[in-house]
Amino acid sequence: MAETEARKSMIKIKPKKYKAGDIVKVDFIVIHPMDTGMKKDKKTGEVKPAHYIDNITFSFDGKPFTTMKVWETVSTNPYFSVNFKVPGKGKITVDYTDNTGEKNSKSKKLKPKG
């Protein structure tokens, strides 16, 4: 069951001011239940099916620089942080899919100063 609603997600670049050639932190946060498939729903008493993000790709101008495989052992509303050496102006895109086939992506422009 692929949900079409876009998930809330956010990309943060730290620090806020950076130059080309600097190594910055790229933080990616997404609102996702990350159900393990073992917990019971408190209202209905039925076991919730597993629902978690399994693949994440960080890319810069279409070129992937980090790929991740993630399991349900990662916390609810997951947070992933990697480093990235800024080559210049461009766009960081994060594509992520979950085990139900839901696909989403989020992007942010990089604007190095100086």
Binding site: I23, K25, T36, G37, M38, K39, K40, A50, F60, K63, P64, F65, T66, T67, M68, K69, V70, W71, E72, T73, V74, S75, T76, P78, Y79, F80, S81, V82, N83, F84, K85, P87
Partner: protein
């Protein structure tokens, strides 16, 4: 006569000894039954990643985790690798593993030289007091690891 009585007593004793063993085994079975969809033990996960290669403990990896986690559902884990990120000599992958969750794997991160630094941070769920291991693959095919134990007050892997 002596031998017969001895045998009898032995059989009785062994029956007594065997009975609780069988009971215990029965009690253990339902506990182990509760399984998630991707369950994998720690040893199996390491073997799957390394392909049987040797894994060395290394000071190069800086694993930052809390000593005591009050809430097992959200445990921050940070891995920093002190290794150059050059074209032919870089940190290829960072794997975050745990030793006692049903599924020992948390995240496999494939890095490239464009990252500039071997760094990864996330938050994981831990079912109980256990060790979190950062397993790092370098571009020359060697594996290094660092582990730290975390005390978990309330488990978060329901």
């Amino acid at each position: 006569m002596k031998r017969r009585s001895f045998m009898k007593s032995m059989m009785a004793a062994s029956a007594v000894a065997a009975a609780p063993m069988a009971l215990m085994a029965k009690e253990d079975a339902p506990k182990a039954k509760k399984k998630g969809p991707n369950d994998m033990t720690y040893d199996a996960a390491v073997a799957a990643i390394t392909g049987g290669k040797e894994v060395k403990d290394s000071d190069k990896i800086k694993l930052t985790v809390p000593e005591i986690a009050e809430n097992g559902a959200v445990v921050p884990v940070k891995v920093e690798v002190d290794h150059p990120m050059e074209e032919n000599n870089y940190v290829k992958a960072i794997h975050i593993l745990n030793t006692k969750n049903g599924n020992a794997r948390c995240a496999d991160v494939m890095l490239t030289p464009a990252n500039g630094k071997g760094y990864f941070a996330t938050r994981v769920k831990l079912g109980g007091t256990q060790e979190v291991v950062g397993l790092v693959e370098l571009s020359d095919g060697t594996f290094i690891k660092a582990g730290k134990s975390i005390k978990v007050t309330i488990g978060g892997c329901g």
